[in-house]
């Protein structure tokens, strides 16, 4: 019984994390800060939710499958974030003039 309550608390925490991520996506004013913030907060929410579900379920094939999903997500989520940021960068999306000018001057 105690593990179910703990798991539900973890799920609630993950929802709070993801809500903050969505809030940041909706309110920030430039693309790069959105990318940086969401990549973090979303992964934290995902891991917390999966841990919560594993606590509720106990040790069974269900939670082993959840572990498998967690491993795949940890491998693939940074790849997609990186490829989006890389695509924006190579297409010429820059943030600020000064940083670029300093870099080319040195």
């Amino acid at each position: 019984m105690i593990n179910v309550i703990a798991g539900q608390i973890l799920m609630g925490i993950s929802l709070v994390f993801m809500a903050i991520g969505i809030y940041s996506v909706l309110t920030f004013h430039d693309f790069y800060s959105r990318v940086v913030i969401t990549a973090k907060v979303d992964t934290v929410g995902f891991i917390t939710l999966i841990f919560g579900a594993m606590l509720i379920q106990g040790f069974s094939f269900f939670s082993l499958k959840l572990l498998l999903i967690l491993v795949f997500e940890l491998l693939t989520s940074p790849i997609s974030t990186h490829s989006i940021a890389h695509s924006a960068y190579t297409s010429g999306y820059t943030i600020r003039k000064e940083v670029r000018a300093e870099g080319s001057g040195e």
Binding site: H29, D30, G92, Y93, R96
Partner: protein
């Protein structure tokens, strides 16, 4: 509650995906559409259909549409404004909304079966010219709008006609440049 929200979103996304004129965005909308659709299949108790939808939507259909879209050339338009030093949403929205010119060029591209892509950057003109990856550069200084087009480009004549005809009374110039990056200002 969940069901109602997802069904409404499904209708909304379908309408947007049909209505949008830029085809690459339609691919993204369709991707989200099939994600939601797959979850709804699952919700209504058809996991086998859901798994088929998952595989097709995220792998096959995206690949198919993108391969089909390769026939459309991407026409990259670079917009730069001297007044701003940082790029954020306000810069992009104001820059693209305020100028009627960008709208018109976009419409022109769609009518020529090109995919318009607008990139906003605060960098200097010489840097942009050296990169050579843009088909058209639009520069704004105060009220003055200047359009730089590559001479070898196929559509540059028609674009020049359009801009000179429409915007003769406004502060708008069209300048061509060639391979050695020398600028040819039109005398006529």
């Amino acid at each position: 509650m969940t069901e109602a929200i997802l069904l409404l979103l499904l209708v909304l996304l379908a309408i947007i995906a049909v209505e949008t004129q830029i085809l690459r965005m339609a691919v993204i909308f369709l991707g989200i559409f099939s994600l939601l659709l797959s979850f709804l299949y699952l919700y209504y108790g058809a996991p086998d259909v859901a798994i088929a939808e998952a595989v097709m939507a995220s792998g096959l259909v995206t690949l198919l549409y993108l391969t089909a879209l390769k026939r459309h050339r991407v026409y990259t338009i670079c917009f730069t404004n001297e007044m701003f030093r940082e790029v954020d949403d306000r810069y992009i929205i104001e820059g693209t909304r305020r100028g009627q010119l960008l709208r018109e060029i976009e419409q022109f591209c769609i009518s020529k079966e090109l995919e318009p892509q607008i990139i906003c950057t605060p960098e200097d003109l010489s840097l942009l010219l050296e990169k050579r990856s843009y088909d058209l550069i639009i520069r704004q200084e105060g009220d003055q709008l200047t359009v730089y087009g590559n001479q070898d480009n196929y559509f540059v004549d028609e674009l020049e006609m359009l801009i000179i005809m429409r915007y003769q009374d406004l502060n708008c110039k069209f300048i061509r440049y060639d391979e050695e990056l020398t600028l040819h200002e039109e005398a006529s």
